[in-house]
């Protein structure tokens, strides 16, 4: 059977065929990179640490405002890059980097599908 990292990688590879997704990674909720499909000049360790802290901070912020459900995703935007971090179970976070001028709805749909697959793989 394929190892966990191979399975996670294949989820990312499928995601990368969706138009507009430039890079993606699965990181742990506490900031360690697990698998990534990223440009070579990006340091996955720093990226994972920063994204996990964004998600952690957002979770705390949203809870303090009285949110009853768990955090679903965090989005950070600049004019040329949009980063989306989607919770994938309790241990993992799916992060994708997309071009902001693309079909965002489709990407959100695909990424939430992918995140539930990731959460299944992590449970194995």
């Amino acid at each position: 059977m394929a190892t966990k990292s191979e399975q996670l990688k294949s989820v990312l590879q499928r995601l990368s065929t969706v138009g507009g997704i430039k890079a993606s990674a699965v990181i742990s909720a506490n900031g360690l990179p697990m698998v990534s499909l990223m440009p070579e000049d990006v340091d996955p360790n720093t990226f994972a640490a920063m994204l996990a802290s964004m998600v952690g901070s957002a979770e705390t912020a949203i809870k303090s405002l009285g949110a009853k459900n768990t955090l679903e995703r965090v989005v950070a935007e600049s004019k040329d890059i949009r980063v989306v971090a989607v919770q994938a179970g309790t241990d993992a976070i799916l992060t994708i980097m997309i071009d902001p001028n693309t079909n965002y709805g489709l990407i959100l749909l695909e990424s939430s599908k992918a995140s539930s697959e990731i959460s299944q793989i992590m449970k194995q």
Binding site: K4, S28, N30, G31, L32, T46, A49, M50
Partner: protein
């Protein structure tokens, strides 16, 4: 590349040849002559970088090295080595048993000997054993499993016997790179029983740690067996094999010097800070004596406490940074260990600002922090007090930083 000395500052003089790989050299004290080491890897991980690094370490410390090559051509082998920052030199000699397979004509040079017919087991055997008589300190075979594939396990076993004999006669040593493609267990066991040391290289997937590790399965020249634990590593281009710690936490009260420590210890530190204080985290990668570690620094102010648990998760060791002049913050320091849920992990206490007026002495800090005598406490100071800017991480003196890294890394492996 900086000279590798190991955490204890072991130099090359003690033994020849050396692995040039952190932890292996510290545990096994190099490869004594007359010994044969087998490095067995699973196919998904690969062990060629171990070969490159061992070769490079030895040719640069004046050991004549012979490489038997049947995995790839000498040219692409040397190119690949160079990508890891391991350039060849005059001490490197190659027996090319690859070009003959592909039909590419290869010319003998002083440094490249050619096996004209790699399908001829006698020629392979004779040429290697004969060449070994020319004063080599180390023989590396890349790859030994390909020899077993090419011929059979009984040839591999008898060839290994011959090599063993020859390294004993000639005061040499040998490293055999072996990839385990799922061979029959009895064949593997027979090979393993005949070598002096076996090092296993494998992938690991434990919770959220996805990586690669090596472990010494066997070594007949080291007495204490208890210390052979497995260690995570990364093969880095350039740089080669580094023992790897995915997460080390740096925590402590406000303004103690956590960010300064991370920025001084690592080359590529990034901080999320506003107005001089860390608000989310600091992150930096440390390369030190063949070890690599990712440092995660926490904010110190209490209002960020909800983040501490996330930052501490999966950490395997802690640097607790305190300000030597502020004993009133010490209870907070201990509280942070609890809040990051890292209490009980290996910890090194860094007493920063040790040269400032009013700084407590080591003993006083120990007493006030209720430190167990087994816990290491290291003092650090700013490199230049006149350059301390409250809005920027301060550069700390290297001696203290290195002492702290060395103390924690030793506990972690």
């Amino acid at each position: 590349m900086a000279e590798y000395k190991g955490l204890d500052g072991v130099t090359d003089k003690d033994f020849d040849p050396y692995f040039g790989i952190a932890k292996l050299d510290e545990q096994l004290k190099g490869i004594p002559s007359k010994k044969v080491v087998l490095i067995s890897a699973s196919p998904s991980v690969g062990n060629e970088v171990f070969g490159y690094q061992i070769i490079h370490k030895n040719i640069t410390s004046g050991v004549k090295v012979l490489v038997f090559l049947n995995r790839t051509s000498p040219q692409s082998y040397l190119t690949d080595m160079k990508e890891y920052d391991f350039p060849a030199n005059d001490n490197l000699f190659i027996i090319d048993a690859y070009s003959g397979i592909t039909g590419i004509k290869s010319d003998e040079t002083d440094h490249i000997k050619v096996i004209s017919n790699p399908y001829d087991r006698e020629e392979v055997k004779t040429k290697v054993l004969k060449e070994l008589g020319n004063g080599y300190g180390l023989l590396v075979i890349d790859s030994f499993s390909l020899l077993a594939d090419f011929f059979d396990f009984s040839f591999a076993a008898s060839f290994m016997n011959d090599i063993k004999q020859e390294v004993v006669n000639k005061d040499s040593a040998a490293v055999l790179l072996f990839t385990d493609w799922g061979y029959e267990k009895q064949n593997i066991d027979k090979l393993l029983s005949n070598v002096n040391s076996t090092i296993e290289v494998k992938g690991i997937e434990k919770r959220v740690i996805f990586g690669q590790y090596f472990a010494v399965l066997k070594c007949d020249w080291v007495e204490e067996k208890q210390a052979f634990s497995s260690v995570l590593f990364k093969a880095i281009k350039p740089g080669g094999i580094k023992v790897y710690f995915p997460k080390i936490l740096v925590t402590g009260p406000t303004d103690a010097g956590k960010s300064s420590f991370i920025h001084s210890a690592s080359k590529n530190a990034v901080s999320v800070d506003k107005l001089g204080g860390t608000i989310a985290l600091d992150h930096g990668t440390v390369d030190f004596q063949g070890y690599r570690a990712d440092l995660f620094g926490t904010p110190g102010q209490e209002r960020f406490d909800p983040l501490l648990k996330m930052l501490g998760g999966e950490a395997i060791g802690v640097f607790l940074v305190v300000d030597s002049t502020k004993p009133e913050q010490f209870p907070r320091a201990v509280e942070m260990l609890r809040k990051t849920e890292t209490y009980g992990l290996p910890v090194v206490v860094i007493a920063n600002k040790a040269d400032l007026k009013g700084a407590l002495k080591k003993d006083e800090i120990r007493e006030k922090l209720h430190l167990d005598s087994a816990i290491t406490l290291i003092q650090t100071v700013a490199e230049d007090l006149s350059k301390v800017d409250p809005n920027e991480p301060t550069k700390l003196k290297e001696a203290g930083i290195n002492e702290a890294l060395s103390a924690l890394f030793k506990q972690l492996t």
